[in-house]
Symmetry: C2
């Protein structure tokens, strides 16, 4: 969920200086239009890792926009008046009216996360708080609010470096309370519980936007840009009522660097290493599948990837280690008539393996947020809500002991072109290349955006995505098998 | 929540025989239209008290409609195949396809309720199960399902009588498992937890319909009628997509007997009794408000009622017991400009009293489901979702220690007319009677339906409605004060 926000996004000062005045002007204009229309209120929630620039972002938004039309509320210690009333009262009294913007700094999410990290509440109580937050936000949206939720993020190392800088600078050290320092120790807890909260509360009408906070310029432009896009879309909306689903990607990469760029596609294995490592991993896999601890689990492997990335070959190397009775391959193509008459996930639920069994999906439920999104086979509202539905689905699998590994096999455009051409020349491979493949290739940037969005929204602790550098097929196949083996071993160890 | 389903609804055999053939024919026709359109699936969930006719209802629906297009699924003990997979798998595999009807008998609600009643799970886990059910139903509706949730109800006495009959009849006794008998002992638990489940899962897109199950004819016609109305509305809907909010009242009273009819409006107090009882209750109230246990609580009293039912007089008798610094009266009229710029409940949240304090609402947040519903001041979608929002709101009040009493002051039409005429004659009361009052009077049946619907959907254990027989003002005033006193004493006793 935080993958794209840990790759070192940065924008240089010149680019920032060139962009900032235009963004400012557009934001101001949107703000006046918001007041003019008076149709809806805007609520901005700021959460995330300490030191990731939450405070600076608030300051900046106040500088950029007309501060008379923004109210910043910090919810720190409760006042006597607040303590004497239901907990939500403090938020209600600070709600911005229609036409205005309210920034909630230290909001309901901060409270539930701090409580969970400190161990004052358990997961069941956290889930109750999450249900309360969802009900509140749903109601606010039904009543005409536009909600932006920002999670300002830092990797563990980035946070440590940042806290150190702040500490060294006496002018800034006032920003760090003892609690903040505690977070530095409990970073892992904060991120783990944060992921649970984000996974369950990212909804089409109020999604989370995760922003990498290390670089000031990148962070500022990204937040400003997301706000501007969302505001303009809502201001232009023809329907009299919000909520509109937010269509912006979860993570806008203004620096033109995405998760897929961060892959080193040059990685490869020579033939001998490949043979040896493949044999080792296959033997290990075969042993794990026969392990008696496997009776408590099932295994699902999802294969997605660029056309010609080598999904079929990788799948064969996985199944090659097993007896055919041990696994079941589900090739996913266009839905049948029977499947079309059911809710989208039905065709995948029917293939959920029993305990002890293994199912490979050659393409999967992610079709909805990949091909269906890019080709327009479903409405934006459908694929936007699919992320949440998929996370719910995978959480149910995980809770039932299913080990779920998800692979995106990534190649670059040159490699794809070479493979397409090769396929055309080899008679028995010609059936593998169609007009569709060439058409999809033209949509490379759209697919790329959909893939990064998918990973950011559905890579979770319980079901992480593994990006597989697949320019070299040998490297890819070994990485796939090794990842499956590690996942099984981790699950067995946790029993 | 179950008030209207415990008043002994009944329909005689002749009326049933006259109605049944028409209903059957219409249901069959709707069923074929459903198949013809193939746009959505229908899911019927049947829950409720043992002996309230769940099984008979399923049998009847199968008789009435074309059983080839209905699939009845009972989810009793899990099969080996089901046990080896995530719990929801068994429901997914039984989902009806578009164009068909699936009846789920013993569904996710049965499981969570049985677990809670038996003490296998606590409230926090029940809430997790509730959140899961809500997510599932929301998704099903988004994917084009029309969901009907029936809670077949019996009062404790009705259930006992019914179980006895069944036991006496050897032909029927097979229906009672040991678990059923256990329910007879744990009726109170089942109803209490059932109320929590209904309160939280009754949503505009999938509301609960509570049906009194004692009389076979009433029960059958009611279920058939609700199904028919809902089906016809969905089949006629112009928008390509469901969910549509269900607009049918939660409890259809086909026998023309509503909750308000069950009141004995003839109750009265003579002057001497009134003086004595009023003085007693006022003294008791004054003492309770000064009790130190009041520091942990706040008190809210909501006054709603027919025009000229005597709300003002009742309020004065309550406040008469107190020092003016001890209470705050909020008269609710048309919202101010400032209030209109906020979510609906904002204007009430701002007046939530601090601990130790008392606020009286002369009309309240129930305006949305009364005057706004009847007069069309808001969309059906708004007032339909308001019930859930109000229950959430009141639950937050209750959890914060607020004691909430809600009064509906009920008079009959003759009494209202007499009071209207009297007001016109008395100069200083003339301002109290307006054109609006006469207009509202014409809408008596609509208000009556809205009131009964409101009580059924929002009378909960934590915030029950008290219906006050107010033809006699003296009787009403004493009942109001006594109810407040009892509520405070119960809250203090539970501390």
């Amino acid at each position: 969920m935080f993958e794209s926000a840990e790759i070192g996004h940065a924008i240089d000062k010149d680019a920032f200086d060139a962009e900032e005045p235009l963004l400012r002007e557009a934001l101001l204009e949107a703000q006046y239009e918001l007041r003019q229309q008076g149709r809806f209120a805007v609520i901005i929630l700021l959460n995330g890792i300490e030191g990731a620039g939450k405070g600076e972002t608030v300051k900046l938004l106040n500088e950029w926009m007309d501060p008379r039309l923004i109210e910043v509320s910090t919810f720190d210690r409760q006042t006597d008046e607040e303590l004497a009333r239901p907990p939500a009262w403090r938020y209600w009294r600070k709600l911005p009216p229609k036409g205005r913007i309210g920034i909630f700094f230290g909001n309901w999410y901060s409270q539930m996360l701090q409580g969970r990290v400190r161990g004052e509440i358990k997961n069941a109580q956290l889930d109750q708080a999450i249900a309360g937050a969802l009900a509140l936000e749903q109601m606010l949206c039904d009543e005409g609010a536009l909600i932006f939720k920002f999670w300002m993020h830092l990797s563990r190392e980035q946070m440590k470096a940042r806290l150190k800088t702040l500490q060294d600078d006496p002018l800034h050290s006032w920003r760090l309370s003892p609690l903040d320092w505690q977070q530095s120790k409990t970073y892992d807890k904060f991120v783990r519980h944060g992921e649970r909260v984000l996974r369950r509360t990212s909804r089409d009408y109020a999604p989370w936007y995760v922003v990498e906070g290390a670089d000031e310029y990148y962070r500022s432009l990204t937040v400003g840009r997301i706000l501007l896009d969302g505001l303009q879309a809502a201001l232009k909306a023809k329907t009299p009522r919000l909520p509109q689903p937010h269509a912006a990607p979860l993570i806008a990469s203004l620096d033109e660097r995405g998760l897929l760029d961060s892959l080193d596609l040059g990685q490869s294995l020579d033939k001998d290493d490949y043979r040896e490592q493949l044999a080792t991993e296959q033997a290990r896999f075969s042993g794990l599948m026969r392990d008696k601890r496997m009776r408590k689990h099932a295994l699902i492997a999802v294969f997605e990837g660029n056309d010609a990335a080598g999904k079929g070959g990788a799948i064969r190397r996985v199944t090659g280690a097993l007896d055919p009775r041990q696994y079941h391959i589900v090739p996913v193509a266009a839905p049948t008539e029977e499947e079309l008459a059911q809710p989208y996930l039905w065709r995948f639920w029917r293939h959920v393996p029993a305990r002890g069994r293994f199912t490979l999906f050659d393409r999967s439920w992610y079709g909805r947020v990949l091909v269906e999104r890019v080709e327009g086979f479903c409405e934006p509202a459908d694929w936007l809500r699919a992320y949440g539905e998929i996370n719910d689905f995978e959480e149910q699998l995980s809770e039932a002991g299913v080990v779920l590994v998800k692979f995106w096999l990534a190649i670059d455009q040159d490699t794809q072109l070479a493979r397409f051409k090769a396929r055309e020349k080899i008679p028995f491979k010609r059936f593998k290349i169609t007009e569709d493949d060439w058409r999809n290739r033209d949509k490379w940037p759209l697919y790329r955006e959909a893939v990064e969005d998918m990973v950011d929204r559905t890579s979770t602790e319980i079901a992480p995505w593994t990006l597989v550098e697949a320019n070299d097929k040998r490297f890819a196949r070994v990485k796939v098998l090794r990842t499956i083996n590690k996942a099984l071993e981790a699950a067995f160890a946790a029993d």
